[in-house]
């Protein structure tokens, strides 16, 4: 085979492999969405039906109007949104303050604080759940959304600080010094100079916390006893009922809870990679 042909063959093989990987990644997602649009006779069949020829909105409208476990799905979506946004608001503020301290100052205990951040990120939340549930109930936050928010802030904050500190460090120090020389106070400098420049990083960390809190099943499931407080992931498992699995509803519900995550995720996935792998990836 001459080199040009060999090269072309190689290209074709590579691209074929690319398409295979794409299909492998996307097919289950496609299956979720398309099942949500299939009529039941196309879902409950031993045949493989690649496209919903009986395209229906029945499952989506049923999920949105009938709900599950005695409540409407809107309540669960609302609970999920409250937990995720609450986590983001509290977490981002705390993360910004800590990240500024780490990136802008050298102080005693800085190194140990950074290492603590790395270690506590790895603690299993299922293990933290036991003492946290006891503590949260003791202070009267059991069975309240605020209780879940508190747990989520604890879980997301270490990585949030870790991620955000690099954004703060990337803002040139000279900008702040110029403001000081002009007589601005530390507070003014922080809000007027640093904050706007760190905003993109703050968005990235916020989205990360949002996704973590939005996706969480464990805390929401075991900190809440009444169904009014369920979040979407908790509610979803109720579709796997006793009378058999309602795949149309599950996939419609899963699609609904996935949409915001996918949108947000596509915005920040690069930051998540660099945050986790940190210096190991030399760009």
């Amino acid at each position: 085979m001459n080199p040009a042909r060999r090269k072309r063959l190689g290209r074709i093989l590579l691209n074929t492999a690319g398409v295979v990987v794409f299909l492998y990644a996307i097919f289950p997602v496609y299956w979720m969405v398309s099942t949500g649009f299939k009529a039941n006779d196309q879902i409950f069949t031993t045949e493989f039906i690649p496209f919903p020829t009986s395209f229906t909105l029945e499952h989506f409208s049923r999920v949105l109007t009938e709900g599950v476990a005695n409540n409407s799905i809107w309540l669960y979506l609302r609970n999920s949104a409250i937990v995720a946004l609450g986590t983001v608001l509290i977490g981002s503020l705390f993360a910004l303050l800590s990240a500024t301290a780490i990136a802008r100052f050298r102080f005693r205990g800085r190194g140990s604080f950074l290492i603590t951040l790395l270690v506590v990120q790895m603690l299993p939340s299922e293990a933290m759940l036991i003492p946290l549930s006891v503590m949260i109930r003791r202070v009267g936050l059991g069975d309240q959304l605020l209780g879940i928010i508190v747990a989520q802030v604890a879980v997301t904050l270490p990585f949030g600080i870790w991620m955000l500190r690099t954004f703060v460090a990337a803002v040139p120090k000279t900008l702040e010094e110029a403001a000081w020389i002009d007589g601005a106070s530390r507070m003014t400098t922080f809000w007027k100079v640093l904050f706007p420049l760190v905003a993109p990083g703050l968005v990235a960390t916020s989205i990360f916390s949002f996704i973590t809190a939005w996706n969480d099943l464990v805390f929401a499931l075991y900190l809440m006893s009444s169904s009014e407080g369920y979040t979407m992931p908790v509610a979803l498992q109720y579709f796997f009922g006793q009378k058999g699995v309602d795949w149309g509803a599950i996939m419609a519900g899963s699609t609904l809870m996935t949409i915001p995550v996918v949108i947000f995720f596509l915005l920040v996935q690069r930051r998540m990679v660099s945050g986790l792998v940190a210096g190991a990836v030399k760009g």
């Binding site: 979720m32 106070s185 996935q269």
Partner: protein, 335 residues
Amino acid sequence: MANTTTVARGGGSSAPGRRRKRPGGPARPSGLPSWAVPYVLLVPGLLVIAGLLLYPMVQLVIISFQKFGIAQQRGRPADWVGWANFEKILSTELFWTSLRNTVVFAVVAVTLTLVVGTAVGVLLHKLGKKMSLFVVIGCMFAWAIPPVAQAAIWRSLFDADSGIVNWALNLLPDWLSQALFGRADWTGEPWLNDAFTVYVVLVFCVVWAGFPFIAVSVLAGLKGIPNELYEAAKVDGSGAWRTFRKITLPLLKPVFAVLTVLSIIWDFKVYTQLHILLNGPTNREAFNLSMYAVAEAFKPPPKMGTGAAISIVLTIILLIITVFYVRQIVKQEEM
């Protein structure tokens, strides 16, 4: 990817130190002495980490030495039982099957995720710009799906009656299916009834959701290797496999170290997907350590003491693995 990773390395974070050493310098009108500023900024973060992560960790240790049931949750003082909880779990068979499930699953899932992820990462590096972007976007979807939805999807694919896995296996020629699996008919095969096959499904689910992170990280690492090295290797007549082994792998070693440790940690404590596949902590044969701990602590009657003891075992294992992670990161990064 290049620009974000340079940001992530935190270039320039070493400079500020020099500038702070002026306690008597021009008064900054915040009213705080300079040395106190970082500590004040750290207060909220420290309170959360100390109060909601480190203190609960201590509580977990304390609870693991107590008899802690429903009365104690309501505030009744708990009885100290010494090592009884640990002795109890170590003598239960369920603990050992859970530990075995945890470890075997992690080994299989981590290996497969790393192999698939690395292969895809290398492929992405070789593909043209447009094709590479196309594949990356596909992978992002798999990565972004919430764990609950991931598990729901894979549960439906492996469903006994309407799942397409059974359909696909039935398509295999009978002799082939017979030779591979010792059976030809897969109609109605209930994958989620048996602990072993539950983990087969879980491996599929976790590898599918986990490989994109590995692939993208490996891709970022590959982009960082200077092209001259490969040109030099080519001039020296090194083959593709040799080049990969002698140049790519050694240079990516730090990336792999971090990715391996992270994957081990994540797969060791996988809970949500297993919970959905099993319909909650029901099939005890299929428990892993996190599910065993949660089931013990929260399924009525709640036995938080033994639940805590199991959690301690899991946490200790994870902390040992985390040490490697921290060491790698500290080595790589000028913190």
